[in-house]
Symmetry: C2
Subunit: 227 residues, 2 copies
Amino acid sequence: MIELQNVCRTFTVGDQQVAALRDIDLRLDAGEYISIMGPSGSGKSTMLNMLGLLDRPTTGTYLLDGGKVSDLNDEQQARVRREKVGFVFQSFHLVPRLTAAQNVELPMILAGIPAEERKARVQVLMKNYGLTDRADHKPDQLSGGQRQRVAIARATVMNPTVLLADEPTGNLDRNTGWEVLRLLEGLLEQGITLVVVTHDAEIGARAHRCIHMLDGRILSDESLQND
Amino acid sequence: MIELQNVCRTFTVGDQQVAALRDIDLRLDAGEYISIMGPSGSGKSTMLNMLGLLDRPTTGTYLLDGGKVSDLNDEQQARVRREKVGFVFQSFHLVPRLTAAQNVELPMILAGIPAEERKARVQVLMKNYGLTDRADHKPDQLSGGQRQRVAIARATVMNPTVLLADEPTGNLDRNTGWEVLRLLEGLLEQGITLVVVTHDAEIGARAHRCIHMLDGRILSDESLQND
Ligand SMILES: Nc1ncnc2c1ncn2[C@@H]1O[C@H](COP(=O)(O)OP(=O)(O)OP(=O)(O)O)[C@@H](O)[C@H]1O
Ligand SMILES: Nc1ncnc2c1ncn2[C@@H]1O[C@H](COP(=O)(O)OP(=O)(O)OP(=O)(O)O)[C@@H](O)[C@H]1O
Ligand SMILES: [Mg+2]
Ligand SMILES: [Mg+2]
C-alpha cells in the first residue's frame, strides 16, 4: 500500500548537511499496526512526515498503491493527504483561535460535511477523549495532555485510511495514555493502518511490528507476537 | 523558602469556572528534590506556574523567604523570577528566530553577562545536552527532543536557586531522558531546589519527596527513601 524505496532526506542548515533519513526501504500494508522507536534525533518524525505526504524525499521513491507520489503535484498530494491520512503532530499544531471542538471539526468543514453530522461526530469524540467539559476552551486554556487529546481526536475525525501518530502519549499520565491507545487500536477493526512513534517501550511492544531507527536508518524491523 | 497557604486558582472561560488549584498548602525548603505527578488536567502545570511566579493565586498566600509575593508588583515579581527561577515549559516556548545556542544564551544577555563568559557557558551546556552539532539550528530545524533539551539547558544557564521542570523527558527516549535527569540532579549538589512534574513513575520515584495531585488538590505528599 505504502512503499518507500531507497529514500533519503537531507536538510541543509547554512553550509551544514543533515542526513535525517538514509537509504530507507519500507513497506506498509493496509491494516498493519506498526510502532517506530529510536533515540531523540534518529529520524522518526521525519519518517512519519514522509509517510504522511507532508515532506518529499531528497532522493528515492515513494509508492502509494503502486503509483509514484512524486508524479503528483503539490495540490494532488495535499488532496490525497486530506482524504487518506490522519496525522497527530509531536507538537500538536492546533489552531490557536479555535476552540477544542472547532479544532476537531475543522477537517470536516474543509471536506464539506453537513453541520448536523459534524456536531454529532465532534460530540462522540469529545466524550471518548474525556474533553466534553473543555470543548469550548481554546488551546491556551487547556493542559498539555488535553491539547494532545484534541490533536488525536482531530486526526481520527475523517476516518482516515492511515493514522500516523507522533508520540501520542508523551504528555499523558499512564491511565489516560492507555485509554487513548485503546481508542486508536479500536480503529484497526475498521481496517486502518496505524503507525505510532513512541519513546515508551511498553506502548511500542503492543504493535504487531516494531521498527527501530538510529541515525536516520532502520536498525531493525521485526514482527511481534501480538494478535 | 517557598510556601503556598490556602492557594486557589480559578480560570474563567465564558461563563464557566475552572478550579485548577483548590486549597493548596505546600512548603518547599531550599535543596529539596520534589516530583509532582497526577492525571492530565489535575493542575500540575498550574501549580508549577504558581511556584515560578508566572501566575498569581486567585485567593491564598504565596510566601517567598517569609515575604508575601503579592506585595511585589509585576516588575518586582519578574525580577525575582529572572534571578531565582529556572523554568522548563511543557511546550518549551523557544524563541523561533533564534538558534539553539542563542536561545540558551538569551537569559545571560538580559542579565548583562559579558560575551566571553556567555560563549563559554553555552558551549558547556550544548555539550552536556548533546546539542553541539545542532547549535546553529533554529527550533523548527530541531527534533522534538532536541527542542526539549534546549529548553532545559536554557532553564539552567543562570544557575537558578529553584529549577521547575514541567515534564522534561516527555519527548525523550529512555537513555536521553536519564542523561538529562542526571544533569538536573547534579545541580542539587549546588543547593538548588528541584521540582519535576512528570508522568513517568520511574522518574517520579527518584525524588526525595513525591506529591500526587488530583482535580486541583494535593492527594498525597510523601517522603521517599532516597538519599
Ligand atoms: N488558561 C486557562 N484557562 C482555562 N482553563 C485552564 C487554563 N489553564 C489550564 N486550565 C484548566 O485547568 C486544569 C489544570 O490544567 P493544568 O495545565 O495545570 O493541568 P496538568 O496537570 O498540567 O495536565 P497535563 O498533565 O495534561 O499537562 C485543566 O483542566 C485545564 O483545562
Ligand atoms: N527542518 C530541519 N532542518 C534541519 N534539520 C532538521 C530539520 N528537521 C529535523 N532535522 C534534524 O534531523 C534529525 C531527525 O529529526 P527528527 O525530528 O526526525 O528526529 P526524531 O527521531 O523525531 O527525534 P525526537 O525523538 O527528538 O522527536 C535531527 O537531528 C534534527 O536535528
Ligand atoms: Mg520526533
Ligand atoms: Mg501540564
